[in-house]
């Protein structure tokens, strides 16, 4: 039977519209394809990354277990580092280490006939009293005291003479 279009011609869609619909349908197919491909890509990446995370987590667990076996060593390291940091701070304080070293040098190199009568050593200064029986010993001692670099600053506090003990010299020495 022949196909007869009984519809009035104003009811049939326009040709330009049909072309647009055609183009839209093709675009739709493309978009659907892109949509499906992207979903598959996302899924693929998700699965790969997930397995990667699982592998890395296993690796991390193994390493954690291995480190746990060194727990005693770790404790020792932490204790050692803690003690060392604190000891370092304490050693920095020094106390009267430097003045004591200077005093030691002075006592070793005392000229003949000179002896240390008393000394007060603190971190700030050293107050030393010496006694000498002859003026020659006094001059030798004074020359040594001034020429040596034992004290940066020397302040003479007392110089006296008594026939019982000879010359008595009291001075303050500053290391810094």
């Amino acid at each position: 039977m022949p196909k007869i279009n009984l519809l009035p011609p104003d009811l049939s869609p326009k040709k330009s519209l049909l072309r647009l619909v055609n183009i839209l349908t093709k675009v739709l197919y493309v978009v659907v394809a892109v949509f499906l491909i992207s979903i598959l890509t996302f899924l693929g990446i998700f699965i790969i990354d997930n397995s990667k995370i699982k592998t890395l987590n296993t690796q991390k667990d193994i390493l954690s277990k291995e480190i746990n076996e060194y727990q005693k060593t770790e404790q020792q390291v932490i204790l050692a580092k803690d003690r060392m940091a604190k000891i370092k701070d304490i050693w920095k304080l020094q106390g009267i280490k430097k003045p004591l070293e200077s005093f030691e040098e002075l006592s070793i190199n005392l000229s003949e006939g000179v002896l240390i009568k008393d000394a007060k050593i603190s971190s700030a200064k050293s107050e030393v009293t010496t006694e000498a029986y002859s003026s020659l010993s006094v001059s030798k001692f004074m020359v040594y005291l001034v020429s040596s670099d034992i004290y940066k600053t020397i302040r003479l506090k007392n110089f006296s003479f008594n026939p019982n003990y000879g010359f008595r010299i009291t001075f303050e020495g500053y290391v810094d």
Binding site: V31, F46, V77, A80, I87, D89, Q94, I96
Partner: protein, 231 residues
């Protein structure tokens, strides 16, 4: 009635619009779905990548830590008691008194008036001053101060007053000894651990060479046979 109204409205729509509407609406729908899925997908992948990066970082820290620990376990001896004897966690006055008496007798000095001062608690470490008098020759007194530099618990000399009478010297000394609490927390396993520096290794050698008080190691007594007193 409502349904019939809707059908009537659809019939009223021109065939041109009907033809265009279906693909257009589908396209809009698909684009919307695409955007929505992309957003979720990107977020999820970004999150996973961040997780991978974080775990990777942790693994590299753990690997470094493991290497450091294995190296340190070979260099650091099993017995690191000298650290806790050099700087104990409690007031070391008794050990210091013992060391003073021991070292002074070695140096040919006589100790008297040994007194402990009050404790002074600090943030990182605490300290206590010990006062005593030493009697002997000047050389011996000076050598005593050299010796105490190398004994544990560590001390520092704070004050010295020397007095000479009839050829003998008397030294009034103030020694300061220190203590500090032990660390109570071990850092998290993922925290990096640095190896000992050259300076620290030198310090370890120096501290390990300090003269320790002899009662630092207490060995358990061996059980002995009980004797029957009635036999």
């Amino acid at each position: 009635m409502k349904k019939q109204g809707k059908i009537a409205t659809f019939k009223v729509i021109s065939p041109n619009l009907k033809r265009l509407g279906i693909p257009l609406l589908s396209l809009i729908g698909i684009v919307f779905c695409f955007l929505f899925t992309s957003k979720i997908g990107f977020n999820k992948i970004t999150e996973q990548r961040k997780q991978i990066k974080d775990i990777g970082k942790t693994i590299s820290i753990l690997q470094k830590k493991k290497e450091t620990l294995s190296v340190v376990s070979q260099t650091l001896s099993d017995d690191i008691q000298f650290f806790s004897l050099a700087l104990p966690d409690t007031n070391p006055a008794l050990s210091v008194i013992y060391q003073i008496k021991n070292q002074s007798s070695f140096s040919g000095l006589y100790v008297e008036n040994l007194k402990g001062g009050s404790e002074s608690k600090g943030k990182t470490y605490s300290r206590v001053d010990l006062n005593f008098d030493l009697n002997g020759s000047l050389e011996n007194i000076i050598s005593f101060f050299k010796v105490i530099e190398n004994f544990a618990p560590i001390v520092s000399c704070e004050k010295l007053e020397l007095n000479q009478s009839s050829g003998m010297y008397r030294a009034s000394v103030t020694l300061r000894s220190y203590w500090a609490p032990y660390p109570t927390k071990i850092p998290a396993i993922t925290q990096p651990l640095s190896d000992f520096t050259e300076e620290e290794l030198n310090m370890i050698t120096k501290i390990s060479e300090l003269t320790l008080p002899p009662f630092s190691t207490i060995y358990p007594s061996v059980p002995s046979e009980r004797i029957n007193p009635f036999e």
